[in-house]
C-alpha cells in the first residue's frame, strides 16, 4: 500500500513523468532510451524516475497501471502508455499536442 501512495504522489506532483530504467543521460534499456528521445523531440520539460533504484516502485507501477513493462509515461496524472504508444502518438502529432496543452 505504501508504494502505491508514493507512486500516486509522484504522478500527481509531476505534470509529465516518465518511469524508466536509468536516466535520460544514461538510459539502461533501449525502450527507455527511445521514450526519452521522443520526449526530447517534443521539446517539453519532463521529469523521470529511475525504477532500477527503487524495486518497490518498479513492481508497484506495473500493478498501478496494469501494464507489465517499463517505460511508462504519465501526463497530468493519466497513464499515457509505454514506448510503442509514445512513439506512435509522437508520429501522429498527438503527443506534442497533449504535452503542450499543459
Amino acid at each position: 500500500m505504501t508504494e502505491n501512495i508514493k507512486i500516486k504522489k509522484l504522478i500527481d506532483d509531476n505534470q509529465v513523468l516518465l518511469f524508466m530504467k536509468g536516466n535520460p543521460k544514461f538510459p539502461q534499456c533501449g525502450f527507455s532510451s527511445l521514450a526519452c528521445q521522443v520526449l526530447d523531440a517534443c521539446g517539453s520539460k519532463y521529469e523521470t524516475f529511475d525504477v532500477l533504484l527503487d524495486p518497490e516502485v518498479r513492481e508497484g507501477i506495473k500493478l498501478y497501471s496494469n501494464w507489465p513493462t517499463i517505460p511508462q509515461l504519465y501526463i497530468k496524472g493519466e497513464f499515457v502508455g509505454g514506448a510503442d504508444i509514445i512513439k506512435e502518438m509522437y508520429e501522429s502529432g498527438e503527443l506534442t499536442k497533449l504535452i503542450s496543452q499543459g
Binding site: P68, V80, G81, D84
Partner: protein
C-alpha cells in the same frame, strides 16, 4: 529458448486474432503485429493490455520486451 512462434501460439489461443505475426530471435525481445475485431472501439492502451493479458505470466517472467502494433481489421486493410 523462447521462440516467436510460441508467443504467437499463446496469444492466438487466448485472444481471437484475425492476423498475428511475432518476430524476434534473441529469446527475450520480440515484435508483434496483431489484428483483431476485439480491438474495435478500444483505446490503444486497452488493446495492448488485452495482448498482455493473453500472455499472462509469460509477459512477467520470460519476455523482456514485446514491441507491438495492434490494429482492427479495418485499420489493417488500410495500412
Amino acid at each position: 529458448m523462447l521462440l516467436a512462434s510460441q508467443i504467437e501460439d499463446v496469444i492466438n489461443k487466448n485472444l481471437d486474432c484475425t492476423f498475428i505475426k511475432v518476430k524476434g530471435d534473441d529469446g527475450t525481445h520480440f515484435e508483434a503485429i496483431i489484428v483483431s475485431t476485439l480491438f474495435e472501439d478500444k483505446s490503444i492502451i486497452k488493446q495492448h493490455q488485452m495482448v498482455y493479458q493473453a500472455l499472462g505470466d509469460m509477459m512477467r517472467q520470460e519476455i523482456h520486451a514485446l514491441s507491438m502494433k495492434t490494429l482492427t481489421p479495418e485499420q489493417w486493410k488500410n495500412n
